[in-house]
């Protein structure tokens, strides 16, 4: 691939090149188009790295061609040399000249962002020996070259398809890998949990991931140095390394952004469904890659754990507050925050079934397995009526409590207390706004009837909840350093506070 000073200045270039060097990715070749020009002016305004030395420090094979950018033979020889190095990625550094061979704009920062004028185009064509006034001119030899490349590609593709068709090995596995799905009946492998068990959704997720790797052959992944913590450990699996190319357990290192970006690359290549884990607060570090996954509809699965102030003692820097809202704001990204272990299993099934990216947002702390979550189709619809408490409603309940993830049990507990006052209280679990948004209006109104006072409960900012609820029990401030249970309770995420706020909402409506 071709890269420039901008690519190599960005932080991700460090994470990616360091990981590629560590893994000895010999098929990776960077051609560094070193044109000495950025938008602000000459690169030396801000950049004086010794790039070859830097890449050698990462364990790369490095060639510095100097002023050879327009000597195609030298360039081709260097690329062939790089390709022959199979145990190291390669950097080919080439001193180039932006806008070459324009007589007016070569080596000018203006060439970066400004379109060539008609005169600039004409003058450049003259230098290149092209008819200066002909537009969309393609020399015959160039057309022939690309036509030949097309034929070569078609033949390669046909030969590949023949090999696939003739494959006599494990056909089911090959088909599953090529279709990015599981073996026939793969969903039978999903574990279930008994009501009343207590299990963190990150732990449940880890069990599901491990179970699914047996039946979804494309699943690979791990964490950004939080593999055990984020439920992305595959005990007994081979670790991907320089020596073991078939390893399905990936240690991305402390590199969230490169994790997200390499997941995109893997998904774009196909044949694998990449899974990557980190703490939810660090989703901020990989956000640009998450956005690209959403634009490109890459099938990747994020395991973002420690998803609230329940993180505890690590304090405000490590406690996500605004991340749920900010991640939900990204178009075309499914964000799923399961209420318990059984919703987590369904969330995984849906993530495998989905064609694009899915973010699983999971608790650090244990959560009770709830009545009504196991195998409930409502999970896949984004929100559903989990239970109603109190006298049976003739028509509509008196109150709806809607929660996500670790706050659903809080809603259930609060609903039971409110029901003691002869109120009919519905609890809605809403693991995925995007899926609920895709339902028809009738279903939406059935689950969340607009005319019933509705209180949302979520351990994050209230931002966005006005769409679904009349009021929220939420956390519109940064967190605090204390044991997770203490922070949650002090910031109002408790059945007692939900009861109080629900009563206030009902009083207001009366």
């Amino acid at each position: 691939m071709i890269c420039g000073d901008g690519d190599l200045s960005e932080g991700i270039s460090h994470e990616a090149a360091s990981l590629a060097g560590h893994l000895g990715l010999g098929r990776l070749v960077y051609v560094y188009d070193d044109n000495h020009i950025t938008i602000d002016g000459p690169t030396e305004l801000a950049l004086t790295d010794d790039a070859p030395k830097r890449f050698e420090a990462y364990g790369w094979h490095v060639q510095n061609l100097g002023e050879a950018a327009n000597d195609l033979d030298v360039l081709e020889a260097a690329i062939r040399t790089a390709m022959a190095v199979e145990d190291q990625p390669s950097l080919i550094m080439v001193r180039s000249h932006i806008a070459y061979p324009s007589p007016t704009l070569t080596d000018s920062p203006k060439a970066h962002g400004k379109a060539f004028s008609d005169d600039d185009v004409r003058a450049t064509k003259e230098v290149m020996g092209f008819p200066p006034d002909e537009t969309f001119f393609v020399p015959d030899d160039v057309a022939a070259y690309y036509a030949e490349a097309g034929r070569r590609g078609a033949a390669t593709r046909a030969a590949w398809q023949e090999r696939v068709d003739a494959y006599t090995g494990d056909r089911a596995t090959l088909d599953a890998v090529l279709a990015d799905t599981g073996l026939p009946g793969w969903t039978d492998a999903l574990p279930t949990w008994e009501v009343g068990e207590k299990v963190a959704t990150r732990v449940a997720s880890g069990k599901v991931f491990a179970a699914l790797t047996e039946v979804v052959p494309g699943l690979v992944g791990g964490g950004a140095d939080l593999t055990g913590n984020t439920g992305t450990e595959l005990k007994g699996a081979k670790v991907l390394s320089k020596e073991e190319r078939a390893g399905r357990q990936i240690h991305f290192g402390i590199r969230e952004h490169a994790m997200g970006a390499s997941m995109n690359g893997m998904a774009g290549h196909g044949g694998v469904i990449p899974v990557g884990g980190t703490f939810f607060v660090f989703s901020d570090y990989m956000r640009p890659a998450v956005r690209l996954a959403s634009i490109a509809n890459h099938k990747v699965i994020y395991s973002w754990t420690h998803d609230s102030v329940g993180v505890g003692e690590d304090g405000p820097t490590h406690q996500p507050i605004e991340q749920l809202a900010s991640i939900r704001a990204i178009p075309d990204l499914r964000v799923v925050r399961p209420a318990d272990a059984n919703e987590t299993a369904t969330a995984w099934r849906d993530a495998i079934d989905h064609s694009g990216p899915t973010a699983l947002v999971l608790s650090r702390q244990d959560l009770p397995v709830l009545e009504g979550t196991a195998g409930n189709d409502g999970v896949s619809r984004g929100a559903y009526v989990l239970a109603e408490f109190g006298p049976e409603a003739e028509d509509l309940p008196d109150l709806v409590l809607v929660g996500t993830g670790s706050e659903v049990w809080v809603c259930v507990d609060a609903a039971k207390r409110l029901a003691e006052d002869a109120l009919t209280v519905r609890v809605v679990s809403m693991p995925c706004w995007e899926d609920f948004d895709d339902q028809d209006e009738a279903y939406q109104a059935e689950v969340l009837p607009g005319e019933v006072p509705t209180l949302a409960v979520e351990a994050g900012v209230s931002f966005g909840w006005d769409r679904w609820a009349d009021d929220t029990v939420s956390i519109d401030r940064f967190g605090a350093s204390a044991p997770g249970g203490t922070v949650l309770a002090e910031l109002g995420i408790s059945p007692e506070n939900v009861v109080e706020r629900a009563q206030a909402l009902l009083d207001e409506v009366d």
Copy 2:
């Protein structure tokens, strides 16, 4: 400062060290606590960089001490050597042992996240020659050392204060710098624009920034290789460099994250008000630093320009869509999206007056200077009634159109058209949600009366707008590659579409 393998694995370590090397920041000394241990296990699972070579490539002075972590004399000598190198930052690499000298946990990954048990603590104290069962034990010589350090610090501080008090130079400038504000009467320097002029808010912002640097002596800044583009160029100002330490123009290079982080460091140091510019879509790259600025209440100013699909041909990757919502979701960050040049001037004044971070979200494209924005106190209240069109309302208008930034003129235009049908239409400009949120309920209800049908217009996702409006004209999808005006119009950001949607909203209410 002390850093570990995690710090040096993250992408920002590249951006920051490359910039520090380029600027020859001789006062910067990293001690690399190279303990070979990460949370997942030994560092070699994922990290095999040659760190000394890497930092040499950045132009750093490097000392590799090997196994000297517990030899305080060697360590002190190395730090003194590093401090003596004044034209390069320094890396001191030290092979250390996590949890040393615990007999049970030295060199164990468990020591990373797990608290020592009582037995572990006792055993370690024994090795160190401390009374094993005494808690909060501080040896006398350690207490004496820190008491002395305290006295030394107090004396240094007193001497500094004396120098400040005795200063006979430009007192006004010194006072302004120390108070992070402007010279007396500084707001007189704010430029104003005439109604009807057409100017992009990024251009207006650049004029304000340049004007204010004359009267707000702490202002420094620039862009992440988009200095001219983001209104952060200071024509004629000295450029900060290895040779010119007093330069107020900073070229951060193509390093958004390091720009945000170094702005935090500068603001934390005090005496400067750092300004940093990049395209709004790239705010994603610096988000973790923005979050930290918000937690720590650092007085920094972001100039985020090219703030919508108005970016144009660069396409979906460069067109912000969800960034406004996701940035507004961060607690304690003021996000200001001015409607025109005059609102931009007021936004700058408020940013200088504010104690914490302010994000200015600015247009690439020209915007008309509107009637009623110049010097309007409502700008500082977050939202205000800009105008009403149509027959004078006896009590309340028939409709409220609320817009931000580049959509306010669209609201004005649409309101005029709607007024032709004898409707009274109010236009509210809402540059800052956070400031409006801080107003009392009476003012909020005066500006946005809940009972009047309200349509919000913003060239970004609708996420969050349910709080203020009944419906939105918004962009709930990624953008498209075409000229900015074309993309805006095709995605519905036009007076014609606002009129249509407003009529639909009024029909629905009837």
